[in-house]
């Protein structure tokens, strides 16, 4: 079987493939991946004891990092779909790179979650043999598996310049991806016992923030590619449009957040108001989520009327830090309130919120995931032509 026939790639020697043009990024990617491997080594020896997770805070940093990556993937899928699925010409030039990005980010996410789930192999077996159809995790996992398959198929067709088939695969991938991603929100939204997480907020918020993340990432990918030079006109046009869309999306997000906090605090309902007040007193919310994730990029977009696409690359970097905090906080916040109420007495305010801080092993695997993502992305840029798109209309 000739791989070249299935997916046309650039033929090159291993040496060519492994010599990067940017030594610094190569170093970062390899160093982070090394951290990942060290972390995994420690985990394989000590299991979850190497993590900071506890009985009352069973989900930690790695769940947050997993969400961070799959949000990125869904976002890039949405961004990429503008061109090749919906056929908007202005966005066509970024489709292939965005779709490739969505594949590498979800692969990095899977790599990380494999070391958080206690028995990933067993998961694949029993997900099929005894599916728990009432479980949001089952749906999320299964749908993401299907999603990844279709994203790969879409990418293959894109590389083969078969736009018709790419469009079909892309549409299915997008729809399944949106379903998968809102199910991930549902994983939290379904938790009746966790008042701050329960409800419609997370499933919708996940889709909104995915879109926002996708736009940040597309800026980062092109900002990196065209560092120190001007964007080609077609890319510049797509990015300018995305920057304006981002302004709108960030405004919606701030509106959502405001009302989430207001309804959370209003009336002082136990387990909800106190948790929200606690969140409102954390730096990670104000500096991480609000300042980095929303305000700085939003101010730049407003101040420049959405035209400063070079500056937006930096704002997107800051934005991604904010996005990370959003993921981390949402996992942590959902578990803040101790369920041990009974161990004190029902409806009695517990003495303290549940504390958690990631262990060094979790941190190594978590940021190591970024290394995996960078290496996969690098290989993609070397092996495939991620830029030229056929004029198909």
């Amino acid at each position: 079987m000739d791989l070249q026939k299935i997916i046309p790639y650039r033929k090159m020697s291993l040496k060519e493939l492994l010599i990067p043009e940017n030594k610094f990024m190569a170093f970062v990617a390899v160093a982070l991946t090394a951290l990942f491997l060290i972390g995994v080594g420690i985990y394989l020896v000590h299991g979850h004891h190497a993590y900071g997770v506890t009985r009352q805070h069973p989900w930690g940093l790695l769940i947050a990092v997993y969400i961070f990556f799959v949000v990125s993937s869904t976002g890039l899928c949405i961004v990429g779909s503008f061109g090749d699925v919906f056929g908007f010409k202005d966005y066509m030039s970024v489709s292939k790179r965005a779709i490739f990005g969505s594949i590498v980010t979800i692969l990095a996410g899977f790599a990380v979650i494999a070391f958080e789930i206690g028995h990933p192999v067993r998961m694949m077996i029993y997900n099929v043999l005894s599916p728990g159809l009432t479980s949001a995790i089952w749906w999320m996992g299964t749908l993401y598996g299907i999603y990844l398959t279709f994203m790969i198929i879409e990418f293959i067709f894109l590389v083969r310049n078969d736009m018709k088939r790419a469009k079909v695969a892309g549409l299915i991938g997008l729809l399944v991806g949106l379903a998968a991603h809102s199910n991930l929100g549902g994983v939290f939204g379904f938790l009746n016992a966790r008042v701050v997480a329960n409800g419609v907020f997370y499933p919708t918020y996940f889709i909104l923030t995915a879109f926002i993340t996708g736009i940040y990432l597309i800026f980062l990918m092109y900002g990196y590619k065209y560092r120190g030079q001007d964007f080609p006109s077609d890319i510049a046009k797509a990015l300018t449009n995305f920057m304006k869309i981002q302004g709108l999306l960030l405004a919606i997000l701030m509106f959502f957040e405001t009302w989430k906090m207001l309804t959370g605090v209003y009336g002082g309902m136990p387990e909800r108001a106190d948790v929200i007040m606690h969140i409102l007193h954390t730096k990670s919310f104000w500096l991480g989520e609000v300042l980095c994730g929303m305000v700085i990029p939003f101010v730049l977009i407003l101040a420049t009327k959405g035209s400063a696409i070079k500056k937006m690359v930096w704002a997107s970097f800051i934005g991604m830090i904010g996005i990370f905090y959003m993921r981390y906080d949402l996992v942590h916040d959902a578990q803040l309130f101790p369920m041990q109420t009974l161990k004190i007495r029902e409806y009695q305010l517990p003495p303290s919120f549940v504390e958690y801080f990631p262990s060094s092993t979790e941190i190594m695997i978590g940021i190591g995931g970024v290394g995996i993502c960078l290496i996969l992305y690098y290989l993609g840029t070397k092996l495939f032509d991620l830029d030229t798109m056929p004029e198909h209309h």
């Binding site: 299991g47 979850h48 997770v53 506890t54 009985r55 009352q56 069973p58 989900w59 789930i117 206690g118 028995h119 990933p120 067993r122 998961m123 029993y126 997900n127 005894s130 599916p131 728990g132 009432t134 479980s135 949001a136 995790i137 089952w138 996992g141 994983v187 379904f190 938790l191 009746n192 016992a193 966790r194 959902a334 578990q335 101790p338 369920m339 041990q340 109420t341 009974l342 161990k343 004190i344 007495r345 029902e346 009695q348």
Partner: protein, 187 residues
């Protein structure tokens, strides 16, 4: 085929923690503060001396509520958590993938990770120890010096449990969540 439940005459609890020890011993639960199927909640005395509220100082023994509509079962992606033929919520360690979703979903913090199997564990009414041997009491019940626990079949109207639930007022915990606990606190 039964529908097992338990009543707790919780005001009789003297916080001796014999049930915690008996459960560990009978079911081989590993040592460690986090590793427990059963616990006694202590509420400290309120107020400033000499105006101490003695009434506020209570002990609340508890364990998995064996919910009839169990969130932990609902969220389990592989059916590792299931209702057995006696209505007991059990975990099948061969199927549990340790996603910890159930630990997050349980409103009562009844679940923990068992390092023997590296899966989630919780009270199962001694189903694979005492009940499997044909006994009719649980370890925590048998050991209790003040007879706090009454274990039995809710479907059998003649059982001691059914009788006491007919005769005495009782409540369940976090009833508003719709989990339909089968642990009843006697007033």
């Amino acid at each position: 085929m039964a529908r097992y439940g338990m009543a707790l005459d919780y005001k009789n609890c003297i916080n001796c923690k014999a049930c915690e020890v008996a459960c560990k011993e009978e079911n081989g639960i590993l040592l460690g503060a986090d590793k427990h199927r059963i616990w006694v909640g202590v509420k400290e005395i309120e107020g400033e001396f000499p105006l101490l509220s003695i009434a506020s100082n209570t002990f609340m023994p508890s364990q998995c509520q064996q919910c009839d509509n169990a969130p932990c079962q609902e969220v389990c992606p592989t059916h590792a958590t299931y209702y057995d033929e006696n209505g007991v919520v059990r975990v099948d360690p061969d199927k549990c993938i340790l996603c910890s979703y159930c630990m997050n979903a349980c409103p009562y913090d009844a679940r923990y990770v068992d390092d023997r199997t590296v899966t989630v564990d919780k009270c199962n009414f001694c189903s694979d120890t005492r009940l499997a041997r044909g006994e009719t009491t649980t370890a925590c019940q048998a050991t209790c010096p003040t007879k706090v626990r009454i274990f039995g079949d809710l479907d059998d109207p003649e059982s001691e449990l059914s009788q006491v639930l007919r005769e005495r007022e009782h409540f369940t915990l976090k009833t508003h969540l719709g989990t339909e606990p089968k642990l009843f606190y006697l007033i």
